[in-house]
Symmetry: D3
Subunit: 318 residues, 6 copies
């Protein structure tokens, strides 16, 4: 049994508590901990709808519903893991340099400690410092990137660090093991044909929505596993707009014709099991646009839950 | 043609009316009636989000859109059936004993009269007195239970009658014909591995979401039909969270990766046709969390419509 | 490269602009133009929820997110087309005669000029004058009709021109080439069995949701292509309630068990490619009932985008 | 004690019931009745936001909270009055002639019976047939008109019967006792200076918001009482946009700088007490634009409650 | 300077943090602390809308905006006080006995330690155990009760402990110093004339909304000060529905014609300054009914802020 | 009669149109124009809630309801003025330098032309370049600043250009005629006592909410007039959070206890009439947090309307 786990809810309901992720202890520690959940509420690099800064708070709120046993995978997470809510990393809105430094520093410290982090965005620009730190600890990482956008623009209006550019930057900076990196679920109108070609030119395998729909879910999962095979360190980034707007309305650049939560969960379970994943992030949840029932935050919290389950399964299988 | 049917809408639109279910007469009668729709707005046994007490009003409001002919099943319901809106059963919030007594008494009276009831919850705790009364009239009933949760906890915080416990209670009280009882769509994080095992230990067949996704819809339907075959009296309970949050955001304990309304309707039609169903309930609609377009209440009203269609088809085939 | 295309967004983001469709120029011109997008905010012929009059404004607002290259179809739209936002056609609420006259006149002028129009409703009653004008320019048109309702009632409360009657009127007035006309996605409770039979008696092929689900998407698409084969002029009308309420909650007469946006897009792409379509409309978006994330307007803008893509592909293939 | 009063709520809460106004019996009767509440869900004469057709249902829903004793006025309403929910008058959307006929006929019947009606709109166009019928029973009536708009336009786009014209029509048709008629709360941008002058030219006293703010509430009330003094029959019409949008956001043509609910209640109580009011209406509640807490419908139901209190006080004082 | 104060926001914005009240440390301690804020999410004693269990979480979320210096009162709170977020008291939904025991125990412990508590409800039933504990520590307390309802019913449906009964119970149990107890803002329809008389018969001074409006704010404040003068220990309970629904839409039993936030703040500041207040609660915030901008939770957090300011001013003046 | 005015709405309703401000022509021209309305959707300098970038679009949408005659001031605006919607100024999110340059350039051009601009934000950081340009054309300007915050912080997290700092910057850069500058409505918790003192030390007169409530509205207006008397050029900036959250919920840093729309309008009319105002801005409208009825955008559009009225009255009086 891990040292830190969710609040015991045998005395009162799950809603009786400060809203940490999954009701884990709120502790900025890396001792006796297998994983941490940390908020990164930076969102001033977004290009359309704003508000992902409130993503961490909303995902934590929705995570109240999560319970420790994952029945599909038949595992009680905290039999194998100890985890805490690490709080938020200090960021400065509209100051990507300072924010990147803070994010990098915290992430570096976590990676080095051997603890597995799950970062809650924030917009997608936060992935760059998270990946930079991973590279500085583990060497270039294989990227498994769930998204409807490649986010490999060179710049927007001359700005090099926007939420549409992190993976070009990461590739340029040799942070990624390109041969093992893959983008999943890409779709939707783009500015020009170079949009997709760019990502491929950088070395990504791009598994578009259309390809996935044509080949089916199982073949898509096979593609992912083949791609990451042999990677020594993997980083997983999940933009909530991978999901269809019906499943995740609370986001900034919705693209219709997306995936269901079940499809997402299946890809995570079968596509990512047993891999050496060194870090995760989940980004672009905008609570102000969510439905009154908060289904986007709920979906996000369940995606994170599957990430944690992967960690527990890995620990168990050792 | 049944004696009581929906308001004639050839004189003015469907929205010109007091909001009874499907614009049926509001009559607390069991004479000349084949089915009744009755609200049971008890919700103080819920463990997370509250507000299912407003479920009956919201489902009635949305049911305004329903029309009497079901084209898929090619039947004009009120050619075969007479039905009324029975109003709500008197309940007392926070007083489950009095509420259970009132619910039991009304249900017993209805069952005894031979009229088929459809109850609108309220939280899932209401199913227990409804099933108790069914058992006292018909003997132990086979349960067909659509839900994402088994609701077979022993207790929560020492409370034996919460919306997470009714089917353990029903089983313990020998209200159910366990050999013919089945739970459908179960999914989502639970407190421990015993969660699912408990339901099976009680004697339920548990058709989890994962099993259903693996075997497909047709095989799932076959499983259901096999299970209920030979049952003399069947009770159907439908927790709206069987549906995915994208389809039913207005509920209390959403579990992602669920079913579409079309899947639900297919299971009802093909899985439940021709059976001797003595009662139905539909529970856990929380209007305060629904989307502005009220899609949850709309889905719920359509599920009820399919229940009524089953009754009409049975009557027709006699 | 077309003369008129979306605003150049290399200087500032897409949200920095007056909300025309896709940030096209707001010009009431037919010169040097391949297609126009025009609003038709008439909605006083609706029979339940009102508010489609705000559909054009909401779809324009959501269309801000659309970009000029369609990656699935590998085409940069404005390499082949010039298009403008034509503004709204003057209508008078509650005065269908004047409105019909205005709509007819504008549509006639557009069709005659050879420009392809895409009309944004408004309720479905607007399709009648749009089709009348098409017939007067091109002769009877083949109708491809996406909807959950046939809209072939004879009248409602004695009213001949309601949003439930346009396609009976169009058929009666010999505006349609019935042998090539098809209704797609029809579903949901109706008043009586004549509901569907009526449409077939008028000569429509009716591809109900149930049939489509049984035969699958590919076979459904084949059915559509077979039906329209040989038609000289095709008119496409798309009621947003073709989509499931989970995907399009912001509409007036939701019918559950509908289609996903991906299914809609697939049908449009594979079912309608290469055809001589003379006009399109998209109707029944009611922003007041949409989710806070505006997913209905977003879906609608993407459907329109696929229509425009069809035009671009046709131009390219010439 | 009146024959008909609200449901007895000593057995179960107020929310356990079909949503009639104040939980009164739903009976289309004029026997043994002092007042009736009747819905008039016609709204196709509105010129901007649509949806007042759902006003009656929403006001009924909110009226669940009303209880029979008005403490400020120290009266138990149903000690003096018997009342029922009369249901809705049949209207046909987009068909003002038929609708006006139906409304007139029902209203005439009610007035003739001596029963006091309170009509729930619907848009403001419904007041015309309601006033016509009043005039045919009682002779020209004094109008007390709460609103932010005079609604005395001659026509809109040539249409004579829109929600901006009823009081010009009523004046032209000699339905009103102009010397005793007054408009209260008028404010907001208009098309031209004739806007206000028109109303005065027709004979109305126009108590604009600005005048009221300058003279204060007491003097305003005095103005009203002076105006209606000597009138034999008074008709009260209350457009919910009399209230400020902060108090009544769910309406169609909001005008800022309006009145609080307390001010409205004070004017009703002190301005209208003891008068021979033959009918009331409350119009322009649009639930689709209301806040999630439904404060507009709540305000509306309380205004109606004050109307009923006036009737009870009159009865008591006899 | 107090030991515990809000997070230092000079390194990153206020939204970068776990949502404790005012970003205070989350510590279940009474050492080195002047005040604690504690959640009491019990709401199963409510009689209409449910959901106050989420009040504490929502108020904490909104309190993010509060800053430590109150300019009107010219005081930097944490120069004088040390405070923490104590978390939530364990309650069991639908089990008022266990909940009351837990609430009593925690409250007793806090009062005894000399720390000043501010409790966040929950429904109004939580005030009873909070007052019982206060009485057991301090003797009968003077009650200053802001509300639109007296909450002095004897029972509802036979239930003695509902959110409409706590102050009758408290009076009966001799927990209150009746000569110094006062109810402020009472208004709205009630079941019968005994409603108000009851409260007076129990010994409360009842300052109804109507009286307050007639005498004005200053005289009302004078009334309050006169009433509490000489009281040795005062308990303040604030039902958010004291405010008008325009200012606090997110509550369960709205009563129109209420007070503005400014009026509430003025009464608190001038009416309660310098008094020996031993405890506060703020109840009946229902986030599911709040406006999208969360103005109710924002108002609630500011009321609590004024309570804390009172404590700081008292400390300063010593 | 001015050359450019709102669309003629005698042919169809106001909602039939592309959403420019007040349905004015969308023209980027300064010829034959008295005033322009221009959007400045920059919001990456905000420190809490994001989303003011969508303010201009939402205010334009709501402005649809405005009509050309202001009855309180008895003036038909376009008898005296010609105005256009100038569109949005190109800004780059997260790049305040480029944005400031663009904003400055456009503003300078407009001021120089003698046209009066009304700028729609955006967050409050946009006022700095707008004021800089004004100073470069007219010399130091007197600032009339409606807000609940002084926005005179030195920096936030080291950032000098945030929405909390513009007026310190403007003062430091000698853009303001301090002797004639005044802040109105300031209220709410601040970080320390220096908060208010800072503004006064910079030379602003600070009319706090508390002072205003104590002295009353008329005296407050007198204060404003006295302050600006003798100023040669005045710039008016209006942060929507000057209004109470009940009146303007859709903003980022709500402060309770604020002003009503009527109070705002009165201050504008009586406080600012006849002055030489060279520019206006209205900032901090966040549509994602507005109520469903969009009352904040509606209020904002009416404030702008009063600004335009001031210009018309000045022109008329010449």
């Amino acid at each position: 049994m891990g040292k830190y786990g969710p609040k015991d809810c045998t005395k009162s309901p799950r809603y009786c508590n400060i809203r940490t992720f999954m009701l884990l202890p709120y502790l900025k520690t890396l001792d006796d901990v297998d994983f941490v959940v940390a908020g990164v509420p930076y969102d001033t690099a977004c290009t359309t709808r704003a508000g992902a800064r409130f993503g961490p708070a909303a995902i934590r709120d929705a995570s109240m519903l999560l319970r420790p046993h994952n029945p599909d995978m038949d595992i009680s997470i905290f039999d194998y893991l100890s985890g805490v809510d690490y709080g938020d990393i200090d960021i400065v809105p509209d100051d990507i340099e300072t924010s990147y430094t803070n994010i990098y520093d915290e992430a570096f410290k976590i990676y080095q400690s051997g603890v597995k982090p799950i970062f809650l965005g924030g917009d997608h620009s936060i992935s760059l410092p998270l990946i930079r730190a991973a590279k500085d600890v583990f060497g270039p990482v294989a990227l498994v990137h769930f998204d409807s956008h490649s986010d490999t623009d060179d710049n927007l209006w001359g700005r090099k660090y926007m939420h549409a550019t992190p993976f070009r930057r990461a590739a340029e900076e040799d942070c990624l093991s390109m041969d093992h990196s893959i983008q999943i679920g890409i779709r939707g109108p783009i500015y020009g044909s170079e949009g997709l070609k760019d990502a491929e030119d950088l070395g990504f395998e791009v598994l578009t929505r259309r390809k996935m729909r044509k080949m089916g879910l199982e073949a898509s999962i096979e593609k992912i596993r083949n791609r990451v095979q042999g990677a020594t360190a993997i980083y997983v980034t999940f933009d909530i707009d991978f999901l269809d707007p019906a499943y995740a309305p609370g986001t900034g650049t919705m693209e219709v014709g997306g995936f269901t939560t079940w499809e997402a969960i299946e890809i995570i379970r079968d596509g990512l099991k047993g891999l050496n994943i060194v870090g995760f992030d989940l980004v672009e949840v905008l609570p102000a646009y969510d439905s009154p029932g908060q289904i986007t935050s709920c979906a996000a919290s369940n995606i994170v839950y599957e990430f944690i389950t992967l960690l527990a399964l890995n620990k168990k299988s050792k």
